[in-house]
């Protein structure tokens, strides 16, 4: 029974994707044949799905033309992912202790909260000019860090605060010291929350990295790629790059979910 509904859902998913691609194709063709155009858009400049596919295949790997050397999509994915992981890991290393500190101690909360409340309301994109003009290097990693660190801090705080007070009491009567309460009770209890924060954070970080790469330029990266292709008027490659960004972000999200499922076995 459940299997059946699942299969039905999958079929609908696939049909919906296919219909979207067909609709896209038709809209471009209608615009090119000057029959119908979505107002305020140059729909005919949009590549068709097939053109996008060819562009994707064509730019998958590195190319060498004369002295020129262009990176392939895989290099761009790798470069962007490495930046996101570096920024994300840094955010994790800093965000989790900060979150635990704030969640655990009223004093730390009172010291850090005003700063965090203001800084977290500055979107990662707002840090791009600072990253360009003040930072000497690692601008995009810094932008990712900003994007990832606050969801992690907030979720860690939430995880620590929502730990059942009686669980802490139980640990106390079982002889746990304050340090042990933090290490053996608060952290594991907050762990699912922390992972959820990591997932949200990586989502934000992925968006931030692409935005940052479009401004803080480097030789490789998906944001850089789509901007470059746009500059050259190669819209098919540009759209292909956009789709890759979406797919990689999706896969990243799913992977963290899987990690969570694998390691947090104790949540129903």
């Amino acid at each position: 029974m459940k299997n059946n509904t699942e299969r039905k859902g999958l079929v609908i998913n696939i049909l919906s994707l296919i219909s979207f691609v067909i609709l896209w194709h038709i809209l471009v063709l209608l615009a090119r044949e000057q029959i119908f155009n979505i107002p305020f858009m140059k729909m005919k400049d949009l590549p068709t799905p097939l053109e996008t596919w060819y562009a994707l295949v064509g730019s998958m790997f590195t190319h060498t033309y004369g002295p020129g050397f262009t990176y392939g999509i895989f290099d761009h994915i790798k470069a962007s992912l490495v930046r996101v992981v570096q920024g994300g890991v840094l955010a994790f290393i800093i965000g989790v202790p900060v979150g635990i500190g704030i969640g655990y101690s009223r004093l730390i909360h009172n010291i850090l909260n005003p700063i965090i409340e203001i800084v977290r309301n500055m979107p990662p994109m707002a840090w791009i000019p600072l990253a360009i003009f003040i930072l000497v290097t690692g601008g995009s990693i810094f932008i990712v860090f900003i994007g990832v660190v606050f969801p992690i801090i907030l979720n860690t705080i939430y995880g620590v605060r929502s730990t059942d007070a009686r669980i802490i009491d139980a640990a106390r009567t079982l002889g746990a010291s304050e340090a042990q309460i933090v290490a053996k009770v608060l952290i594991p209890s907050a762990f699912p929350s922390i992972i959820a924060g990591l997932r949200i954070g990586f989502g934000v970080g992925w968006m931030a990295i692409v935005a940052a790469e479009m401004v803080i330029q480097s030789p490789v990266g998906l944001g850089y790629f789509i901007w470059n292709m746009g500059d050259l008027g190669r819209y098919a490659e540009m759209v292909a790059g956009m789709i890759v960004i979406g797919v990689v972000g999706y896969i990243m999200n799913i992977s963290i979910l899987l990690v969570q499922k694998r390691f947090v076995k104790w949540v129903d």
Binding site: D164, A171, T173, L174, G175, A176, V185, P188, W266
Partner: protein, 257 residues
């Protein structure tokens, strides 16, 4: 060893007197049940005995040592189990020894012993959410025991179980208690349970909680729930308790008016 003494214990919460001048003793190896209307301060008493809360007046002693700060010589068993959900049954049981820095092999031995004792064989590696209510409370009891406490504090440990499981667990608890004999202070709402388990039954009066009457249960174990002596005692306790429950309901009505 494991003698708990409460001397003139009172507890006020922001001016509201929850517990008033309780004098009580749980003798070494004795099983005492606390009965009383809801909100009369039973949980508060237990928390004070565990050092998780402090009396505003009076003193508590465990083996003549004044209870100040968290009392690590008691084992607390909660109504909603309050297990560590991220630890397996075994991990929960080993928590106390682990905090004390007991070596791994020794911990294994301890947990194995209590897993056998409470009848959890085969469920060692299950997480709490994979266990039934009765199983969870077996883990809760084993976890308390594994810390080798001098006194067991149990706050309606079987309150969330269905009637059959509850009866079964009462029997199990007595079996365990007879094997590893330590003093126990057991809170319940069920007169039947109190008469089945306790050496003495303490009835508390409605808020502020104070000792109203103490009943000795002079029925040899194993007890038969429907024996005439048990029935007689049950009626006596119910009468005493019923008056308190009426009083509690009355004051509640007054509050609501």
């Amino acid at each position: 060893m494991g003698r708990l003494v409460l001397k003139g214990v009172s507890r006020k919460f922001n001016g509201y007197l929850a517990v008033s001048d309780v004098n009580l003793e749980v003798a070494d190896g004795e099983f005492v049940c606390l009965l009383g209307p809801s909100g009369c301060g039973k949980t508060t008493l237990l928390r004070m005995a565990a050092g998780l809360d402090a009396p505003t007046e009076g003193e508590l002693f465990l083996d003549d040592k004044k209870i100040e700060g968290v009392n690590k010589e008691v084992g607390f068993v909660f109504q909603e189990y309050v297990l560590f959900p991220w630890r397996t049954a075994k991990g929960n049981i080993e928590f106390g020894p682990e905090m004390k820095g007991v070596q791994k092999d020794e911990r294994e031995r301890i947990s194995q012993h209590y897993i056998d004792l409470v009848g959890l064989k085969g469920f060692e590696n299950h997480y709490p959410h994979e266990l039934s209510g009765g199983m969870k409370q077996r883990v809760g009891i084993a976890r308390a025991y594994a810390n080798t406490p001098k006194l067991l504090l149990m706050d309606e440990p079987f309150g969330a179980l269905d009637a059959q499981t509850r009866n079964l667990m009462q029997g199990e608890l007595l079996r365990i208690w007879e094997k590893e004999h330590i003093s126990a202070l057991f809170v319940t709402h069920s007169v039947d349970e109190a008469v089945y388990l306790a050496d003495r039954v303490v009835v508390l009066s409605a808020g502020p909680g104070a000792v109203k009457e103490i009943f000795d249960v002079n029925i040899p174990r194993p007890r038969v729930r429907t024996s005439p002596e048990a029935n007689a005692l049950r009626n006596e306790i119910l009468k005493c308790l019923g008056a308190e429950i009426q009083r509690a309901a009355g004051s509640e009505r007054e509050i609501h008016r």
